[in-house]
Amino acid sequence: MADRTSTRGFLARLLGAGGARPILPAAAPGRPQGDPLPLPEYAESGAAPVPLTRVLQADGRLSQYPPPDRWGDWVEYDGKAWPQRVARRYTLVPTICFNCESACGLLAYVDRETLEVRKFEGNPAHPGSRGRNCAKGPATHNQTYDPERILHPLKRAGARGGGKWVRVSWEEALRDIGGRMRESRRRRRDGIVYHVGRPGEDHFANRTVTAWGVDGHNSHTNICSSSARTGYVLWSGSDRPSPDYAHARTTLLVSSHLEAGHYFNPHAQRIIEGKRDGARLVVLDPRLSNTASRADVWLPTWPGSETTVLLAFANHLLETGRYDRGFLRRWVNWEETLATAAEWAEGEEPRAVAAEAARSAAEGGWRFEDFERLLKALYRPFTPERAAAEARVPADRIREAAECVAAAGDRLSAHVWRAAATGNLGGWQVARALFLLNVLTGSVGTRGGTSLHTWNKFVPVPFSSPPAGEAWNELLMPLEWPLSMFEMSFLLPHFLEEGRGTLDVYFTRVYNPVWTNPDGFQWIRALKDESRIGLHVALTPTWSETAWFADYVLPMGHGGERHDLMSQETHSGRWIGFRQPVRRVAMERAGRRVARTRDANPGEVWEESEFWVDLAFAMDPDGSLGVRRWFESPARPGEPITMDEYFGHIFEKSVPGLPEAAAKEGLTPLAYMRKYGAFEVSKDDYSLHERAAAPGKGIEVDGERRAGFTTPSGRLEFMSPTLRAWGWGEQRHCIPWPLESHVHPGRIDAAKGEMLLLPNFRLPTLIHTRSANSKWLYEISHRNPVWIHPSDADRIGARTGDLLRVTTEIGWFVDRAWVTEGIKPGIVAVSHHLGRWRLRDGDGIGAGMSSLVALDAEAERRTLDVLRGGGPWESPDPDTSRIWWEDVGVHQNLTHGVHPDPVSGGHCWHQKARNVERAHPGDRLGDVRVDGRRSMEVYREWLALARPARAHSPDGTRRPHWLPRPLKPAASAYRLPPLPGSPS
């Protein structure tokens, strides 16, 4: 028998403790009787439970939220104290997530006692996200309380890039930067540039740059969506689609990027709804992404073959007669197409049809039947077998997918954003071919089809708008790419290296080109050169590799720390969201006056909107430049406008229905938006091209004026007259047609060990360059191994976890192998959203999220050597001492040569891997080498592909005036500049 001394002792001590025998309930204690736990004195411990707002989501799930009428004073138990019941009292402030472009609604739980933001949850009043968020939304809390965040304005103390900083006041920073801007603006109109990474707001910055009177807007678009935009804009005048996934019969996605990254949350939830109702999901992606894994048909296409596959779908529609004749006849520029076909059509049959159509036209006008014949003749060669051979997928799978497209009828939702479009030379034709399927099925603007983003994005109007400038900045929009979408921003350092110009004041705003862009060493060299960039101001909520090379690092707020407006095309409807500094709002609800948002944010963290106002006053203190007046209060001339005035005016004057909705609740429009954070302007916005138009407006269709599209013809342009006029008149360019990618199989010699490097995918839990400030997100995903197929791994003798050296055309990097059948043979895939680094411990990016590296960007042979991977570090946040990972990924973008597409201007991300091999002795995870000479050579090779405006402009302008630009200068600025040496 066991000795029970221990338990006997326990009994003796228990008895010895004295007191009365506990009074037991009649029997089972069940759940707690009484509550012995202490409650905070500020909690409503005796409050009755409040019925929650129950929202039946469209996919059938039920969600519950605090009712909006209790948001001002909400009590709930603290989840962190679980399982003990500790009540907390909050004021709930809606805001907008800042971590991708979706602009989902968040609800900040601000502790009424301490004004701490305890958590962010979903805002059920938001029409786009409908109360739901992805992992990135709640992680705003990590960003807010990141121990590494920048809390005060910093000014460089030593050499640029030397890492020495002194704290300065906002006033001092404004005075210095404003003075430098004033000086530049007096001399020229192209010396100040605002370079935006994550826009995350809808106009304030653009209005500001316009007010400066310079051509100075630079975006990240051409490392992102240029090519997709080009494809869509040439078709419709609108540069991106708005699929109505929830009502689709078939959803066709080219890659997972969109649903795994960009509009992940609002789109993913609607795709799921569509699937629940029976929609089929077809995904083209060489990689088994999250989205591909949920597809009914997954086509792991070889990169660059996507256009051919899509045209095989088109051929299937044409050959089986399942296309919408009525829609084509009404809305496609078929007459213009037939009228020019003889000049561009290639191949015996198309040319014969074109000739016959011309003969018929001479007798009695253009016939739609000839257009149908032409389409069939053009696309007949795109058989499933041809597509299968190019894509390296079974022909039956192509047929199955084509049948899904055909079965969709006019309910085909389709989208491409980055992926194949930004991966390949000529990737803009992927978007052209994809939208062709919408056009053929008549699913443009239909319920369950694909609308244009301009129909589903609400654009408010501020109280005044400065006029377009007359300047043209050649460093942003050079003559070589007259059709680019938009600025050639990723080539800025190469242009500077060539001596094309200089910048006086350069703002990078939530932008990290050193890390994000290809050929980052070139950026480091440019940023360090004070003769080329006079002043670099980094506006950023977090440390970044680029901020390290700034003169000023100015801390800007995260999603809960700033005023912005946002609207996105998340579905068939329009809404407007209001981002708010939640602590400021909470303080104001408590009756405390807050003059500037920086007085409410952590440290001296500010927001851009107020900063821009004060900077305008610093730049133009006496108003003589004409800048300041755009930032003065209309009610108090000469004084800076407040955020309440600015946004209050917009809500009152330019958001239809909002004043009435507010009045019903006895609120002003501003108070309504501060309470709910979002407003639905309209819903079920379908087929807006069919709206009746006034005489002189729109276009005539079947004898009636209709709104139409914003192309030059007012119709959907199958044959692009713009491309033809600007030097791209060949059949392969002017109609949807495959272009040979720079990573076409014919350009990759597998026998030599060459492979295709696919870098342009992200993980749905990451936030570009701000993930490293979100500990929860980094714990989920922090490394970017090399996806490699088992057959390739066997060939080089690698196993999962082995170090590989991947050699590109300008250098090499070392990363770990991940052997998986989730990638096609012949391709290696490495996500380019990881691999952060810092140059010094204690400054810059957190030690758990970045590698400590040694860097040499000066020599011809440029190097980044990893000294130490990630690891725990001491900080006020105890979690930083619990970092359990070391591998924080590899910064592969440094080894990517720049690949500007000659039409869209977008960087073509795919790389030819000249070799993928086991690492060499001495190679360390994350090591990078780049040949600086070769990087400029690659730039020049791609530059040579361009067709400059000087040689191809049909009308003496730099760029077609109808094409969008974020900030369109006045028409006079479009005139080609005189040749050097010629009379002006």
Binding site: T7, L11, A12, A27, P83
Partner: protein, 341 residues
Amino acid sequence: MEARTGEGAGAAGPAAEAEARSRAWALLADLASRGPVPADLEAARLSPLLEEALRGEEAAAAAAADHERVFGLEVFPVEGFFLDAEGRAGGAGAAPLEDLLRRTGAAPAAPGDGPEPLATALAALAHLSGAEADALLDGLPAEAGRVRALARELLDDHLLRWLPVLALTARRCGAPFPAALAAQVEELALLHRETLGPPAAAAPPLPGGDLDPSDPETGLREIALHLCRPALAGIALARSDLARISRDAGVPRGFGDRATETENLLLSAASLERLGEALGALEALLRGAAADLDARAAAEPALAPFLRPWRERADRSIRLVLALREGAAAAGAAAADGSAP
């Protein structure tokens, strides 16, 4: 005459022992029900077993969370979970237990909880021990004998039949407090049982029949359900057990209740051609559990009769898994040589 409750509490003797047991059972009932709430911490720390798991403020908070996790998600301290053929409360065994509790004068009070939660049995034992102490102090040996018989019945026919398996499972879950609490309850049950006469010679058999893997009606769902019913499988399969198998075999198990996770695990193992690995990990788990039962029976002979039925069921499950492994291996070989249809 010994002192009644609270008076001369430190005195030795059968009444004081019963009084001490009553207090200990009451405390353990409270801990089983609510976890280590602040009001109970001081008393709980008088137990060396519990003190180690509750040392320091942070440990108490962690223990509270572990308590919720282990007894709310991993293994359910409810008699029906262990002794019912379908692993459910409210089955055939609930009525006799309720009747017994009613006879003790400690019928379950909380509506909906039923008679089966561990805390209910412990509260009843506290009540019986207190009644025994009072009877002894009042010189009522017959009454003392009556309540002792009721306590013996509660222990032999109910609690001791499943408590050792609960304790072993809690230990396997790796959380200090739940494991310590279950161990302390078991220790006190054995100590209490020693005062109630000769140990039980045998325990009633466990309910439920065998599963025939060769039956065409036996699919993965049936196998999963069988494995997740402790009385059938001879083991209480916790979620952390499933997580371990999933990790060892390198296959996902998805989300859902334990049976769904088990089915997912087997299904994904089959589709990823890792069924052999998954079944191997499951077999290792079962063999480990069987070894634990043997070790416990050897260390505590009084528990041996109660553990024997579990050991038999564990053996049966091992045989089931071996049969499945053989089937999987044969199917794999057939696929490899092309003879599979």
